[in-house]
Amino acid sequence: MSALVDYDDAVRRYDPVLGIEVHVELGTRTKMFDGAEQSFGAEPNTQVTPVSLGLPGALPAVNGTAVEYAVRIGLAMNCQIATSCRFARKNYFYPDVPKNFQTSQYDEPIASGGWVDVELEDGTVFRVLIERAHMEEDAGKNTHVGGEGGRIHGADYSLVDYNRAGVPLVEIVTKPIEGAGDRAPEVARAYVQTLRDMFRALGVSEARMERGNVRADVNVSLRPSPDAPLGTRTETKNVNSFRAVERAVRHEISRQAAVLDAGEVVVQETRHWHEDRAVTSPGRIKSDAEDYRYFPEPDLVPIVPDPAWVEQIRASLPELPAARRRRLATEWGYADAEMRDVVNAGAVELIEATVAAGVTPAAARKWWMGELARTAKDRDTELDALPITPAQIGQLQHLVDDGTLTDKLARQVLEGVLSGEGDPEQVVAARGLAVVSDDGPLLEAIDAALAAQPDIAAKIRSGNLGPVGAIIGAVMKATRGQADAARVRELVVERVTNT
């Protein structure tokens, strides 16, 4: 079953359809149904209460802030907010769900219908339709011990930490994503990225992928043509980085195409993504084990959002990332392609802060997309991980603007800041890098250069300014680049005409 069809060939002959479920952990202080604090990285089982542990007689109580966050997410995705909704019990047995059911929403989600516009790297906008968004709680965390490479099969036992049990989640389910064609993997990635940016802008979650704040389950199916009925889908669970989302979709398309080419049928199943080998493998086959026997949660009363409250939340929604990017591009005078590069480089916030530090938008872009982008690439890291702040760029640019530094010197100072030598002013002082603005030392260097190259000096004296560059070069060398070349040129001309 390792056969794969070449991706380009697969999408020429099959039409992929996606369905994506995104879970986001809400950044409330406490859990969904009780006051246990939730914070990342706490010692295991130190953030548990009777409700988190499902102890007998423990009663849940809904976190009002979590409901507000869910409404915010729903509104930001252009959804209808339910006039009334309720929680349900999803029954299943697994050690990370100590109550033996997950409290979720089933037939009455808080938000339904809606859309998210996703901008692809080349600027194309793809609209993803939203089926629903519902509230639920996260499960505890299992650590599988023993067995082969810590994988579950063959594990000797598992360890469970219930700190995460009961953390508020919102699950967002798309309608079938059709019409993406060969760009399906890119659409999937951009969709998850757009949601991540949206969660951050809304202030409902830190939305850190590497901490599992945002997790995606990706459904993929193929059909011979867009007119054909939907094919059988597989669901690849817990794909937890943007890159993995794109690669998992791509892999499933190639794999399913091979299954269909062989005249076999795609098995409806849950699959697991293996980042190391960039493949999916089958998990459990959907069966009786997934009979969740949902029923309304008797311990919680319905939620009936007051329309006035919903409108108040709608009015308070912050500007969403796409609108903000359009506004900033206009304010900064960036062309579409320039702005796209800035967005793709993750430099929007950095440039915004740099502009706030008094740098012109053009200069800010030059720094972040030029020298710093190159440094980030060399160091194989992201721009925002470089050890330099927008305020330091502001200071550096100020030193250029007031003539303390030339562009060339500024680059040396930048290098100093990036090497941890302190703020730009400290680097200038420590390395002695300021422009030599006093004419005295410059004239000395000019005289020395003229004396050292008498034939060139003669030519210049005779009015031929062609070789003046050689003198300027010698002066720059003598001053270790700390002279302003234009001033040196003026002084050379003055010198030869006056002697």
Binding site: T30, A36, P44, Q47, V48, A61, T65, L159
Partner: protein
């Protein structure tokens, strides 16, 4: 003897990881049938002018402030576990599932 009710009880018992012996299946199948029939009588009196009840208590929007409470003491919590290690609950190996 296999009857629809007996099969249903066996299925739900399997989902709930409860091992029932044949005598128990027979008894519970009979009891469940009586209960379901009794509940079904409600639908005979329910007319379209009676709205569906989703909750017996006429309340809605009961919310808690997002304010932390003191957690349980971990040693106490783990003392209730059959086995604990590294501050976590030890559970039997899990087959055919993933985290």
């Amino acid at each position: 003897m296999s009857t629809p009710w007996r099969d249903e009880v066996a299925r739900v018992a399997a989902l709930a990881r409860i091992d029932l012996v044949p005598d128990e299946l027979d008894r519970l199948a009979g009891e469940l049938e009586v209960i379901v029939e009794a509940v079904a009588k409600v639908s005979q009196v329910a007319t379209p002018d009676v709205p569906a009840t989703s909750h017996p208590v006429p309340l809605s929007n009961v919310f808690r402030e997002d304010v932390p409470v003191a957690p349980l003491d971990r040693d106490e919590v783990l003392a209730a576990a059959p086995e604990a290690a590294e501050g976590k609950f030890v559970v039997p190996q899990i087959l055919g599932e993933d985290a």
